[in-house]
């Protein structure tokens, strides 16, 4: 995802290095980082509100899926 930060967002190389360090140290989950990347890119094309909505929708679907998986697990 780092080339995307580099080429598709307005972050400076220093800022990107700081973000990468956060993932490396474990303080930010890669998935979380990828979500903020996606949101940022989409905001550039569709505006911040649309990007936020897309992020919320993705999180909802992701949570539902995880929920159904764990339910299955519990039953088995």
């Amino acid at each position: 995802m780092w080339p995307y930060f580099d080429l598709v967002t307005d972050h400076t190389p220093e800022e990107i290095a700081a973000l990468a360090a956060k993932v490396k140290s474990g303080s930010t989950h890669p998935m979380e980082m990828k979500m903020s990347l996606a949101q940022e890119i989409i905001a550039g094309f569709h505006g911040a509100a649309a990007a936020e909505k897309a992020a919320a929708e993705f999180q909802r679907i992701f949570r539902d899926q995880r929920g159904s998986y764990s339910n299955t697990g519990a039953e088995v």
Binding site: W2, P30, I42, F45, A50, F58
Partner: protein, 166 residues
Amino acid sequence: MSKSTPTRRRTSNRSTKFSKENTEVRYNSEWLGKLTSYEIVRLCAHYRLARMLEHEDFRSRLAGNLPIAVHELLYPLFQAYDSVVLEADVELGATEQKFNLLMGREIQREYGQPSQVALTMPILVGLDGQRKMSKSLGNYVGITEAPSEMFGKLMSISDEMNVALL
């Protein structure tokens, strides 16, 4: 792409975002579709075969005894001609476009225009994390796609790329 004006505009922003308000989309079929055989021959007369064969793709195929069809030589010429018609000040492309962008500079000069600035960026890796992002390879995020579509695609960026670049 903007048409050349007496004074070239300066942008003070760190980045310029393309939007519906500041962007005019033009299709090169508008002018390429109208080229007469006379105009095509005239365009071809402005470039030398030896220079054309310096292109990495052509060079490697020649070296490997692989075929190069004649129409392939027209592609960079037509792209260069786009810059002539648009009177381009700047042409953007990924690094693999360098040859074509520079050809635009030469052809513009041949048509009595100032040469455009060629601005290259590194190639953006596609969603597979392996090959360049390309519509024909299907590993792309379309800039006009719906936000939710984009989100799903961006979240599918391969983990390999995450690991490799950490």
